[in-house]
């Protein structure tokens, strides 16, 4: 594809990405929302994180993956424990990565 066409496509991508990021925070932050909406929005962070996390741990190639070879899933438990005990973002990330790296080294996957 021509670089100029790619350039214009990227401009379009930037526009359709920025507008949904901007509109709610720009227009909703200045007004008081109905209590029901505020209640609903309080559940969005947990919901959206879980919606992104679960498939990344549990789905491999369109199948539920509970096999012992699914390192991502098994490393999640100790990572969860560390996060729960320490509340440290960085510590949890390091423990998770070290476990996955070690498992890949030992089992050679």
């Amino acid at each position: 594809m021509d670089q100029k066409v790619i350039f214009l496509t990227i401009l379009g991508m930037a526009l359709v990405t920025y507008v949904p990021r901007l509109l709610p925070v720009y227009f909703l932050s200045s007004r008081s929302l109905p209590p029901l909406v505020v209640d609903w929005l309080r559940y969005v962070p947990v919901a959206v994180l879980a919606a992104m996390l679960f498939p990344s741990l549990l789905v491999e190639e369109g199948q539920v993956a509970l096999a012992p070879s699914n390192i991502f899933l098994w490393a999640a438990f100790p990572t969860f424990l560390v996060a729960w005990k320490t509340r440290s973002l960085f510590g949890s990330v390091v423990v998770g990565m070290v476990l996955v790296a070690a498992a890949r080294y030992v089992f050679g996957s």
């Binding site: 909703l28 947990v46 919901a47 996955v100």
Partner: protein
């Protein structure tokens, strides 16, 4: 301050940025356009998807439409942080929205609940995060084919591990935990049923609604 919050994001962004930079070169996107996308789109998963579509010769309008759908979830995140940002100026909101990603949203919403929004901290985190993304992209363009298999480093586990920790930090009561479990399972179910790009948005809308429902139900039955 701010830099601390950014550290786990940097750990995740640099390697993914490298992967994006390498793949974009292979897809025939010029270095300037590759960097431009990281600067003005700044949305990791959609950039990786777009590179695949460019490589496959998909028409520009389809690429833009796919990007829109993949990134629409940010609209919910933007709405969710809005109540915390009442005293911010419009220009600050515009700058904040520009760098609103899954990861910065997750970090900020965990902080806002406990400490409220601190402008300096928020913008430091966001700027470091995007700098890491652009740096990773640049490294990917530079080292390209030289990088051997990065899998042994487990860099691909940085983001899942971060999401786990952020969820734990956000768990303030049992309803939040129930919402996480229900939404996560629903997102998986939708994905397995073939709902590829809408699954996160749909599951989030249903999950948050269930949360409000459970909350009302508990209040009703305890009063």
């Amino acid at each position: 301050m701010g830099a601390n919050q950014a550290l786990p994001i940097v750990l995740g962004y640099v390697p993914i940025g490298i992967a994006y930079g390498i793949l974009a070169q292979k897809a025939g996107i010029s270095p300037a356009n590759t960097l431009l996308m990281s600067v003005i789109v700044f949305a990791g998963s959609s950039q990786l998807i777009a590179v695949g579509l460019f490589a496959a010769g998909v028409p520009p309008l389809s690429i833009i439409l796919t990007t829109f759908v993949v990134n629409l979830r940010h609209m919910l995140m933007s709405a969710a942080v809005a109540p915390y940002l009442k005293c911010w100026r419009k220009v600050e909101l515009a700058a904040f929205a520009y760098e609103l990603t899954d990861e910065s949203f997750a970090v900020h919403s965990a902080r806002f609940v406990s400490y409220g929004p601190n402008r300096a901290e928020v913008f430091t985190t966001n700027i470091i995060a995007q700098a890491a993304w652009v740096l990773g992209t640049w490294l990917g363009i530079m080292v390209g084919g030289l990088i051997r298999d990065p899998k042994p480093l487990a860099l691909d586990y940085a983001l899942p591990a971060m999401f786990i920790a952020l969820l734990v930090i956000l768990f303030k009561d049992r309803v939040q935990i129930a919402v996480a479990l229900l939404t996560g399972i629903l997102a998986m179910g939708l994905l397995l049923a073939g709902v590829n790009q809408w699954n996160v948005i749909l599951a989030t809308i249903v999950g948050a609604t269930l949360g409000v429902g459970i909350e009302k139900w508990i209040k009703k039955s305890s009063s």
